[in-house]
């Protein structure tokens, strides 16, 4: 059982990190970014190229995964989402745009990165043993980094001027603009922050898993599931949703036949959303 709990901790932490970016974009833009998984995938490849191909330190690659994928997000906001949202108010248009972007990014990645799965050398070696359960050192390092990133993001959103402006924009765009906040800049920055986090998650997790160009769709679906559980647009809800999904998955695999695990998870989520359609946190971000 110790191994199951450790598995839940690792899966939950990684899922929480994945869910943060998508919920930030949803909260400030009201856009469900279905390209989140593809941006996660690109982040993984950025680290692979800097670390394995160019021979630079993993940590530098990780930084670049945030900056490059974040910059890609800014470009997406400026040239794709902003013009469309100015012309059309229907939400499904931005969802379709996000889906189209996902397909485009995945196809482009296949041409540029090729069909092979990629991995990076372990960032730490060795195994911790705890009451008979095994936890590789690399996973411990990743958990701590992920936790540190989550705390840093919460601090940024909660205590900095920009973070407060982002929260204000999520609650009321017009009132925020009346306070003299430059919404155009803030939207681009917020979108870039959300995609940068997706890149950072992909870059970090490539150290313990692997990455391939087809990885994005499943990540997007799970990220969407997490924010539905936690409450769309609620930062702490995304973290909670990630942990809930991680625990459900790990315990489910331990107690049920593998083919039943996600069937049961989806039934639980459907039942839960009938009772609480806004998710666990159930309120607008902020």
């Amino acid at each position: 059982m110790t191994q199951v709990l450790l598995n839940a901790l690792v899966v939950g932490t990684t899922y929480a990190l994945i869910a943060l970016g998508i919920t930030i974009i949803f909260s400030i833009m009201k856009v469900v970014n279905f390209a989140h998984g593809q941006l996660y995938m690109i982040g993984g490849f950025v680290v692979y190229y800097f670390n394995v191909v160019f021979g630079l330190p993993f940590w530098f690659g990780l930084l670049m995964s945030f900056l490059i994928v974040g910059a890609l997000g800014v470009v997406m906001e400026l040239f794709l989402f902003r013009p469309v949202m100015l012309r059309v108010k229907r939400e499904e248009v931005t969802m379709l745009l996000a889906m189209g972007t996902a397909v485009f990014l995945e196809s482009l990645a296949l041409i540029v990165f090729g069909e092979k799965q990629r991995g990076v050398p372990p960032i730490a070696t060795g195994i911790f043993e705890l009451f008979g359960a095994r936890l590789p050192t690399g996973r411990v390092v990743v958990i701590f980094i992920a936790a540190a990133l989550i705390i840093a993001l919460m601090a940024f959103i909660g205590y900095t001027k920009t973070g407060r402006a982002l929260r204000a924009m999520a609650q009321d765009r017009e009132a925020t603009a009346l306070q003299g906040v430059n919404l155009k800049w803030l939207s681009a920055m917020g979108f870039g922050l959300g995609t940068g986090l997706a890149g950072l998650a992909g870059g970090l997790l490539v150290a313990i898993f692997a990455v391939h160009t087809g990885a994005g769709t499943a990540v997007s679906i799970k990220a969407f599931l997490m924010i539905m559980i936690g409450g769309a647009g609620v930062l702490s809800g995304a973290i909670l949703g990630g942990f809930v999904l991680g625990v459900l998955e790990s315990v489910g695999y331990a107690l049920l036949p593998g083919s039943m695990t996600f069937l049961v998870i989806f039934l639980i989520v459907i039942g839960f959303l009938i009772v609480r359609p806004n998710g666990i946190m159930g309120k607008p971000w902020g």
Binding site: R118, P136, K222
Partner: protein, 400 residues
């Protein structure tokens, strides 16, 4: 390393652009051109199969074209390969098959999975097009079906051979099966489990599965390893999952042997799983250094030049175009218009295998399993990963 990879990307982009330009300008107006097709999953987690199949066919076609083309009857033809991505979707396979056939193509390599091959089968049979799936469903190859030819060794053919070898050489007694919750891998798991029981092995786990897109395999492997198997079979595992699965199993303390019956690239596995990948057993193609011919070396060079990096799965896929073209040459020009002439040639066809150092024959087998010659006689090469390469464990031949 930097120069190699940027070069690789540049080459890929240039090839893509060139392909587009050639398509737009409708090339080969001055020469006889034979259009052949590749239909398979060329995107997503399975791109390591269908994408490589397409690239393999194009590279082999490039070699034929560089040599002046392929002579069939009195005419010499340049080969033009048209690839269609079915995205592992049965509906995509059906429309993809229709698209290729409407383009005048009668000979198609692929699809890559049972569900897509079964879906494409109706189109192939109705339109009398020949296809070469990499799918193991027996109904594809058994009468009244006649248009599909299995392009590789099926899991139910090679699985028992590997398990027997492991029993004799590694002393395994308990075996576990793990697969994705998907039709093809589930079928392969069921067949493998039945074969293992038939050999007297104790199957300690054969009900555990994981969902497509799983990133962390610790949860599902914790349960499998908890049953204390000597050997774990990753049934029908796709190329994107195999490295993380091996790595996770070793990190969880599993010290037994592991194998799969689907084609995999050893370098990619080693890059993800590191030394944990050493000893992983795969039934693969004929590109292992110890057994490859000079011609296979040339093909590897060509593939690497075209696509930037060798993929061992191409060593399996190259058998498809090879026997397809050799059979067309034997069947003659009539087969270009009517696949009945091609099928009539299958029974007695004996070609040459250019890929093995020791040569040998290329022919159609499968009478025992399918009641008619509807399988390419790909050699059974069982190999183990060793530092990013394969070392052969043993080589066998398919029974007819």
């Amino acid at each position: 390393m930097l120069a190699w990879n940027t070069g690789s990307i540049r080459r890929k982009l240039m090839l893509s652009v060139a392909a587009g330009v050639l398509t737009v300008s409708g090339y080969a107006q001055a020469e006889e051109t034979l259009k052949l097709g590749a239909l398979g999953v060329m995107s997503g987690p399975f791109a390591g199969w269908g994408g490589v199949m397409c690239q393999t066919f194009k590279s082999r076609a490039g070699m034929w074209n560089d040599d002046g083309g392929v002579k069939i009857g009195d005419k010499t033809y340049k080969i033009d390969v048209v690839c269609v991505d079915d995205k592992a979707d049965p509906k995509g396979a059906q429309t993809g098959a229709e698209k290729l056939i409407s383009d005048g193509i009668k000979y198609i390599q692929g699809p890559n999975t049972d569900s897509t091959a079964e879906s494409a089968k109706t189109v192939m049979e109705a339109n009398k097009a020949i296809n070469m799936p990499y799918a193991f469903s027996k109904s594809l190859y058994t009468p009244p079906a006649s248009q599909s030819i299995l392009g590789m060794v099926a899991s139910y053919q090679v699985g028992p051979i590997i398990y027997k070898w492991l029993m004799d050489n590694k002393g395994i007694k308990k075996i576990a099966f793990l697969c994705e919750n998907n039709a093809d891998p589930l079928n392969q798991r069921n067949e493998g489990s039945a074969a293992a029981k038939g050999l007297g092995l104790e199957v300690v786990s054969d009900q555990e599965t994981y969902e497509s897109g799983t990133t962390d395999f610790f949860p599902v492997l914790t349960k499998v390893i908890g049953t204390s198997p000597d050997h774990i079979v990753l049934s029908g595992v796709n190329p994107s999952d195999v490295g993380p699965l091996i790595k996770a199993a070793r990190e969880l303390g599993f010290t037994g042997t592991m194998s799969t019956e689907t084609g995999q690239d050893p370098k990619a596995i080693y890059e993800v799983a590191g030394e944990a990948a050493n000893g992983f057993i795969v039934a693969g193609g004929a590109s292992t250094e110890e057994i490859r011919s000079d011609f296979m070396v040339k093909f590897i060079e060509r593939y690497t030049k075209d696509w930037g990096e060798w993929n061992d799965v191409a060593g399996l896929f190259v058998y498809g175009p090879e026997i397809m073209v050799q059979t067309l040459q034997k069947a003659g020009p009539a087969a270009l218009e009517d696949t009945e002439a091609f099928k009539a040639a299958l029974d007695g066809f004996v070609g040459t295998n250019p890929f093995l150092k020791d040569g040998g024959e290329l022919k159609y087998v499968g009478r025992k399993d399918y009641g008619q010659p509807r399988q390419v006689s790909v050699p059974i090469v069982v190999q183990a990963v060793k530092d990013g390469q394969y070392e052969p464990l043993f080589v066998g031949a398919l029974n007819d």
